[in-house]
Amino acid sequence: MTSDEARELFSAAHDGEIDAETKRAFELALAADAELEAEWKEFTELLREARAIAEEDEETDAPDLLGGVQARLRVRSRGRFYRDRFASDASGKTMLPILLGVVMLLVIAIAWLTIHVVQVQDAAGETSSAADAP
């Protein structure tokens, strides 16, 4: 087996996917070429590092995605899903016209009462001045 042929087998050899006979030839090729052997060591070391990264990753906490996913679904479904928060969010918007209506009614009521009181007072004033007249 030439060095190039052996290099082509790096992945298969690492994954244990070569038969015993090929493995022997592969090992002989490595033994015969110091540069190739160094490359092979670097290759296996790199893949070991990659796996170590994954193991380290598993210990790292991933962010909690649930809230963000729910919010996206709520918006995109126009509140059809995960409606609970949508309802509470929307409550402010739906309450605003009602609140405005109540305030306007109050203003009208106060205005009406004020006018009515003034009219009653005027009428009472006119009655008392008529009675006082000689």
């Binding site: 290759f43 590092e49 990659a50 994954a54 598993e58 995605l65 996206r72 995109r76």
Partner: protein, 221 residues
């Protein structure tokens, strides 16, 4: 039911690619998901969010992008669960959705980066013309985060990020996620021979780039 979900979550954090589930649990979960049961969907997110986030992060190399894409993965799952026929495991399907999202995001980011580089080139050219001196190239200095990042991980991650998408996907699935060739075939839809040959090329390219980057690092002051 809650206790079961918590147990599964604990198992999921310790397990590899597939979350181990009791007999019939996955089928019931899929059934509930197809009924758009929000509680079932919450369970699914809690069980797989760590794995999906980590996979996406390794593919994209950026935590903020990874969080955004991982959320989009679950939104897609919610919307298209009816299309899941059950030919493969739910986790395989999830990974397929995730890798497709990653590829799309990588394409988008590359397009954006090209656009930004073009803009920067134009600015550099304009400045050079205005100042009467033509620069040889638009030298855009990238922040060198290698000094602060963990040495080996940052080199491998950077080299990984420089691989073409199709090669990076295979290295992440096989060498980081530790999937079997069969699982990779399910996720990518590629035939076994293509997976093996492409993965081999990807590993050699990764090795070459790691050596180059390590050399740069060693020669740096």
């Amino acid at each position: 039911m809650d206790a079961t979900v918590e147990e599964l979550e604990r198992a999921a954090s310790a397990a590899g690619f597939h979350v181990p589930m009791p007999e019939g649990y996955e089928e019931k979960l899929i059934e509930r998901l197809k009924r758009r049961d929000e509680a079932a969907f919450n369970e699914l997110v809690r069980l797989y969010q760590g794995k999906i986030f980590r996979l996406v992060f390794r593919m994209l190399g950026d935590k903020a992008e990874a969080e955004d894409v991982a959320q989009e993965v679950f939104v897609t799952v919610f919307k298209s669960i009816d299309g899941f026929r059950g030919d493969s495991k739910l986790s395989t399907w999830l990974y397929r959705v995730a890798t497709n999202h990653c590829k799309n995001r990588i394409k988008y980011l590359n397009r954006r980066a090209r656009g930004q580089k073009k803009e920067l080139d134009e600015i550099a050219d304009r400045d050079a013309i205005e100042s009467g001196t033509m620069s040889t190239s638009a030298q855009v200095h990238r922040p060198d985060d290698m000094a602060t990042a963990k040495q080996t991980e940052s080199i491998v991650q950077r080299a990984l990020g420089e691989l073409p998408d199709d090669q990076r996907e295979l290295v992440v699935l096989r060498d980081i996620e530790n999937m079997t060739y069969e699982e990779i075939q399910d996720v990518t839809g590629l035939p076994e021979g293509t997976v093996k040959s492409r993965l081999h090329r990807a590993r050699l390219a990764l090795q070459k780039r790691v050596i180059e980057l390590s050399g740069i690092r060693e020669s740096a002051p």
